[in-house]
Each structure stands twice: as C-alpha cells, then as structure tokens.
C-alpha cells in the first residue's frame, strides 16, 4: 500500500503512533468487530440455505465499519449502504431488523424511534447527499449532530457523489464522508474506476480536508473519524476519508469473483486481517487470553442466533398488508386495488 496513508497499528499489532483509545475501549471495539464477522458469516450461510435474499458480505472491512462509528453520539446520523451492516448495527440499528431486511421484508427498515440510522442504500451513490441533508438539519436545529455517510470506491463515480461533496463544502454541513475503498466495484478494479491516483485527492476539489488511511487498521480509522467528527461538531464542516481496505468475499452471494480476480491478491489481504491485527495488539498488551476470546465468540454467536430466530419468527405480510405503507392513509385507489387482489387472488 502507498506510504501517504495514516497507519497507527501495523499488521503485526505494533504501534506506529499513539493509540486513539485505551485498552478497555479497544477490547470493546474488538468485541464489536467479532460480532460483525459472526453476523456476516451467518448471513452468507443463511443465503446458501435459501433463508436470505442476495447478501453482500463485508469480511475484511470490520475495522472501517466499527471504527468509523466509534466516535459517534446518540444525536448523530448514519447513512450507509448494503455492505455496511456492522456499522449500522454498531450505530444502533437492531440486528433483527438487519436480518429481516435481508430475508426480504420491509419491516427490516422499521427501526425504533431515536435511532438515526437510515435503511441501507441499495442504489449506489444516491445516499451521500442525504447525509448532507441530515447534517444540514442538525446545523439548522442546533442539536450538535454529525452525519456519517459510508460508501464504496465505485460510488465516487456517480454524479450524486460530486453534488454531495459540493453541497457539503458550500454549506459547511457537519458531514463525514467515509469511503471504503475496497479495491473493487463488483468486477471493476479501482484502477479502472478512476484515473486519479487516490480518491482522497477529490476532497481538494470541493474545498474540504481529506485523509487517506489504512482501513484495516482500527486505530487509524478511529483516529481519523474522531478528528473529522470533532471538526464537524465544532462547526468546521465536512471531511472526506478514504479508507484503503479490501473486499475479501464476493460482491454478493450471486457473484463469482473467480471470473475477474485471482485468489493471490485476496490471500495477501487476508494476512492483513483487521481483527487479527487488533488481537495481536491486545496480546502484546496483556489484554487478551483464550478464555476471553471464547467468551466473545460465544456472546457474538448467541446475539446473532437470537436475532435470526426473532426475524424468522415473524410471519410474512398478508396480501392486504402490502398496500399499507405507501401513504400515511391509503388512497381510495389503493383500497380499490386491495379489494381487487382479494377478489381475484
């Protein structure tokens, strides 16, 4: 990876700079990353069993997803994508809702009041501007809220990305643009997504600070996001963060990466696993032992299994219910159509 990139924790678990959080917090974040991984693997397995619709795994991106959310507070917003389940969960989106969404059920998006996390964006690139809007609202309402938006390298090619960056710059909204550059947009490698050497350079064009970080380094992610969040919260406007990471798995469970990439590059990135890295750090700081690891793994597994059970216990919508959420009150036309469906099946 190129040198002009913030790194604090080396792949071997040794520090290059100062850890942004203490050891106890690191253990908590480690725990959260493990939950993310257990969830991710469970979803892939469930999809293979036909229990979920297409699923987009995020293995390898756990440091980005947990680390970027770590500095957030309750009033903050998260606006992310189909690949950001761990980030959304860590920001308070209930796991049962995430799973329900993946089974193919709109109630996945019906999350509790007070959780400021939008349902995942399935279209690429259209959602970053929403985090400009929510940030703008925080500014107008004076609630001190910051909006974090997460997106991929591919999303920076959509026109809406540029409109979002420009608006955030013009209105100095408290928005943190967190790009997980995982090397691929389905089959398109980063080098063909843009002729720019680095996405972070785009920040200059919109008059905002940008930073490129090692996205498999939890500490780099936490440090960069903490600074960006503090800047935004104190009225300093948006920041663009480009986190260099890698999509270890397929684009989705419907994808076959063998058609466009070799396993060698993926294996190399496997050796730079974000969870292993934090574990190595904890070991070196006498903050890890096998029994705790087992405890973490068991808890993660129980949590995921409980969410799966709860999601799957819910009966699917009846025919009539599919009409219920188009408007605050169904129109007469919709009521008529509901009757037609009941009449003719």
């Amino acid at each position: 990876m190129p040198g002009d990139m913030l790194q604090i924790l080396r792949p071997d678990g040794t520090l290059v700079g100062d850890a942004p959080v203490d050891v106890d917090t690191t253990r908590d974040l480690y725990h959260a990353m493990v939950v993310g991984r257990v969830y991710d693997r469970k979803c892939t397995a469930m999809q293979k069993q036909g229990r979920l619709a297409t699923y987009a795994p995020f293995e390898g991106q756990e440091a980005c997803q947990i680390g970027a959310v770590a500095p957030l507070e309750e009033q903050d917003w998260v606006v992310a994508t189909y690949r950001d389940a761990a980030a959304m969960w860590f920001a308070g989106y209930p796991m049962v809702n995430l799973i329900l969404g993946r089974t193919g059920d709109e109630r996945g998006g019906q999350i509790p009041e007070g959780v400021n996390v939008l349902p995942p964006s399935i279209t690429v690139g259209g959602h970053m501007i929403h985090a400009v809007g929510t940030g703008w609202a925080s500014k107008l309402q004076g609630d001190g809220g910051v909006s974090l938006t997460m997106f991929g390298d591919g999303a920076t090619s959509e026109g809406d990305f540029h409109e979002a960056m420009n608006f955030a710059g013009v209105y100095q909204t408290p928005t943190v643009f967190f790009c997980q550059n995982n090397g691929w947009a389905i089959s398109l490698p980063f080098e063909q997504q843009t002729n720019a050497a680095a996405l972070v350079d785009k920040a200059i064009g919109y008059g905002m600070p940008g930073v490129r970080i090692d996205g498999n380094d939890l500490f780099a992610v936490v440090a960069a996001t903490t600074e960006a969040v503090e800047t935004a919260r104190s009225g300093g406007g948006p920041t663009f963060i480009e986190a260099m990471t890698y999509r270890i798995g397929p684009h989705t469970t419907a994808d076959d990466p063998g058609r466009y990439r070799t396993e060698e590059a993926t294996d190399e990135w496997r050796r730079s696993d974000p969870i292993d890295r934090v574990r190595a750090y904890l070991v070196a700081n006498d903050a890890w032992d096998q029994s705790w690891e087992d405890e973490v793994a068991d808890e993660a597994s129980d949590q995921v299994e409980a969410a799966v059970e709860e999601a799957e216990a819910l009966d699917p919508f009846t025919a009539g219910e599919v009409f219920d959420a188009m408007f605050a009150e169904p129109t007469q036309t919709l009521l008529d159509q509901r009757d037609m469906l009941r009449r003719d099946g």
Binding site: G104, E158, S187, R259, V322, L334, D344
Partner: protein
C-alpha cells in the same frame, strides 16, 4: 427462416448471440457496468470482451448518466453504442440524458444529428431480489416522445428485435424481462435476421377474447389462454413485442373480432401502458366491444420484497378471472 441452422437458446443466450453478431460491425461498442470481464450480472455479454477486446466491450465506472451520456456522444459522432444498465432501478441517474438529449437530438437539429443507440435494461420481478431490482417502469420510457421501446418475451424475438434495434436510425430502449432470461428455451436461427420493431405477434388465434401482453407477463398470458381453452373460451393471444411504436392495427383487428380485451402488465396500474392500449381500443373499436376492457396489472405500490412479492405479480388466476368477466352475460 426455413432450412436454416438453429440452436436451442435461452433469451440470455439469444441476446448474447445477437450482440456478438452486432459487434461484427466495427462501429458497434458495448458499454456498461461489469459487461466485460464478468459478462454482465446476467451473463448476457458473456465472452464478448474476450473475443472483441476491452475497447469494444467496455467495463465502465459506476455511473449511469455517464454511460448514457457517453453513448449519446458516441452515437452522434457515428458510432453504434449498445449501453447496458444493470437493472431498471439503476437507470434513473441516466434518465436525464435519455429525456433531455437522447430522445430529442433529431428534432432539436431537424435530422442533422441523430442518436442511433440502444439502451438495454433488464426489468421486472419474479426473482425475489432486493429493492430496485424488480421494477417495471416501462411507462417512464414510453411516455417520452422520441424513444422506441421494445420488450421481447422469448428468445427468438429477443435476438431478432435486438438486431433491428441496433440497425434502427433512432434510439431504442430495449427492455429485457429478468425472469424470462432463462425460463424458456427455443430454437433460434444462427444467421442474422430481424424481427421488425413495431409489429406485434399473434401467438394464438381465438374468437372470444383478446389477451394483450408483453415481456415477462407473456408466460402467464399463455398459461391463462390454456386455462380458458379448457373452459371453452377461445383466447387470442397478442404479444405486443414493441410498445412504441404500438402495432395498433393488430390490436384493433383482433378486438373487432373478439369484442373483448384483457390487457396484462406487471407495471403499476396508474399511468401504466395498459391505459394507453385501453384508450386506443375505445377510440378505434368501441362499437365492437361487448364488455368493458379489463386491465390486469401490478398495483400502485413499491414491488414488495421477497417474502411478499407474490402478492404483487399478476398471476394466471387474475388473468383468467378478468377474461371470464368479459364473457359473463354476453
């Protein structure tokens, strides 16, 4: 096509063969997301980049406005671009280019500039996909003056219509029903042939009621005709194949004979293309009608996700019920 070599193909394979054939014209360029190395998410462009190179079959950045806008520029300057949009739900970032430029340049320049391009768009539900992957918004294209809109329902038409679309001097929105990509196989001629744009196909003759459909819904329409036949109702089945320009003559002649019409589409009902057909029937064949024209359509709702999608897609039962209603008491 008698005596010609044929190969049994799915619609995806037939389209692949049609695209390969199109590429033998050097002005044809295929561009879209993941169309090259992986051959597209539905594998419709499978193997084409390997055969024709990355300059002719181009993997683009994730940018639909870019794809359509660049295709427009390529076309205006004499190339024959075939753009692929991954799913209809992702076509909207490119819609501004379609509405404001692609569809208008001929009129804006009084024929001096033209945009003979094809935009291939997989559409429709039935595969339990994620949000935005199931919709059927053909009417947002049929409503735009200056666009031709084609929707094949079967492999043989898919290849022939694609060839006609590439040869057409005007922009063609080429809608590919996702659930028909692999559900049906038929013998498809290996040599080049065109299925003309603007000509519907009478798939099955009948005297009692006209069933009018297109695209993915043709499977249900065909099945409904079978069911009706077993109850002694002769349904004439029309596959429109092209929505714009509409083959009015075929529709009207059939309805004048049967006196009854059922229009079927997966798209939402309000402002759906069925309204256009019904209006045309009442303008041209009102006095032949023996019953109100029936529409069997999707509802005015977002296509439900996988667990409840079945409540959306019109089924055979609904088509049969509508057809029976037209025959009641007449």
């Amino acid at each position: 096509m008698n005596g010609q070599a044929t190969t049994e193909r799915t619609m995806a394979q037939a389209l692949n063969a049609g695209l390969r054939e199109a590429l033998s014209d050097e002005s044809v360029v295929i561009l879209g997301e993941d169309v090259g190395r992986t051959g597209g998410v539905f594998r419709v462009t499978d193997g084409l980049q390997a055969e024709y190179g990355a300059e002719r079959v181009v993997d683009t950045p994730v940018a639909e406005s870019g794809i359509v806008g660049a295709a427009f520029g390529l076309a205006v300057a004499g190339m024959r671009p075939i753009a692929e949009i991954q799913f209809m739900g992702f076509s909207y970032p490119g819609y501004d280019q379609v509405v404001n430029h692609v569809s208008r340049i001929r009129n804006r320049s009084r024929h001096r500039f033209t945009a003979p391009l094809v935009i291939r768009i997989p559409y429709g539900g039935g595969i339990g996909a994620a949000e935005h992957h199931s919709e059927s918004f053909e009417a947002i294209y049929t409503h735009v003056p200056g666009l031709k809109v084609v929707v094949p329902s079967r492999p043989i038409d898919a290849k022939g219509l694609l060839t006609a679309a590439v040869a057409d001097p005007d922009p063609v929105i080429f809608l590919e029903p996702i659930r028909a990509y692999r559900s049906m196989k038929e013998e498809v001629p290996d040599d080049s042939y065109e299925v003309p744009i603007g000509v519907a196909s009478i798939e099955r003759p009948g005297d009692d009621v006209t069933l009018i459909g297109y695209g993915a819904m043709m499977r249900e329409v065909r099945e409904a005709a079978e069911v009706l036949a077993s109850s002694g109702v002769g349904a004439e089945v029309i596959d429109l194949r092209t929505l714009v320009p509409l083959d009015v003559e075929t529709v009207i002649a059939s309805v004048q004979n049967t006196g009854r019409a059922v229009i079927v589409h997966e798209a939402p009902r309000t402002s759906g293309f069925g309204g256009e057909i019904a209006a045309t029937i009442q303008e041209r064949a009102l006095y032949s009608l023996r019953a109100p024209v029936e529409r069997v359509t999707g509802w005015d709702i977002v296509v439900p996700l996988r667990r409840a999608e079945k409540h959306y897609t019109p089924g055979v039962d609904r088509i049969v019920a509508a057809a029976m209603r037209t025959t009641e008491g007449h």
